[in-house]
Amino acid sequence: MSLVQKARLKSLWVLHFDCGSCNGCDIEVLAALTPKFDVERFGIVNIGDPKQADVLVVTGPANRRNQRVLRNLYEQMPEPKLVIAVGTCASTGGVFHNCPNVLGGVDKVVPVDVYVPGCAVRPEQIIDAVVLALDKLAGKAPKEEA
């Protein structure tokens, strides 16, 4: 493995975007940063700037109002980049799937690499999803399910 590849796997900066989730998944995303789970030990940090982020973590369903913002954030991130849909709403639209303003999962707007189902997801699942995303970044075929 080259040095660059190793550095990419060891330093993953996360941009967290809330598409209008109920905040249940957002709290779990933040919980992953607390002392109990401490994802910073793997080099994962939460960063507010799309231009420096490697992973876009999206919670909540894509809707007509925020799809432009979501696409804009995705396009501002430089390659290589990954998208993780966190929660049932972000994966499929969840309980909001047939609302008139909801498009469905965030994969209706941006390409998603890893889906994390759950309402709300557990921090362990989010960490697992990031590990799957790392496999994808390393060029290996990701495992079938989290």
């Binding site: 080099g43 507010g48 390659e79």
Partner: protein
Amino acid sequence: MMDAASTLISIGLALATPLIGGVLSGIDSKLTARMQERVGPPLLQPFYDVIKLWAKKPMIANRIQPVLAFGYLGFALVAAGLVTFRQDLLLVLFVTALADVCLTVAALSAKSPYSYLGARREFLSMLSYEPVMLLAYVAIFLVTGSFTVQGVLDYGRPLLLVIPAALVALQLVLVVEMKKSPFDVSGSGHAHQELVRGVYTELSGYTMALVEVGHWAKVATTLMILSLFWAPNQLVGAAIALAMFLVSLVADNSYPRLTWQRMLKTTWALGFILILLNIAALAVGGVV
């Protein structure tokens, strides 16, 4: 005149400042994590971050930004070289200021309100620490009769015993320079409390990597200057600089960010009063 061996050592030390700063940054995140009862990232994490940033696909906001990012690192290394070649401290201050100007102009060159705000706050940080640093150098001049690093080394006695208050004032300067709470107004290293990413908002990929390495060099240079306060024994000097680095980390984890007004008032009032009192005490004692 310096001989060839010491010239090589000086060049090597100047080029090593980014490495020293990077390792210190790794120690910083490890200790910060421990203070928050976390395990924390590996010691070499800052280097992984910079290599990753370097290898990302460039998405540069405009054509001047890469030049300015190289300028930031370049001027930071020149400042380090001026210290290791025992040159004028005033020149070090001005070259460091040039590096900072490169960063702020890079931030101002992009059309982003967050970047603008960060650049203005970076200017305010410079405004808050540079006069204090300048006055500390004046105190050094009054004691040693010279503004040069060579002059401090030739003085013979530890400066800490003569101008201890100047070192306390420089502790404030170090916190601002390292961008640590409570004075991290322009761009906090961690994502605690930031308007997007402060002055770094519009930097991405290799320009951000260059600025990060330049910041390491700047912090290491400032620590080298602080170690001059015990010049006769440079190991003791390094220990003093390291202790001040640790104090900055404790401050970072103990205080929330202050407003820029409070930062300016604290550094100017405390810094100026401490150094002027020290100079006054020396004048009464007949030292200067």
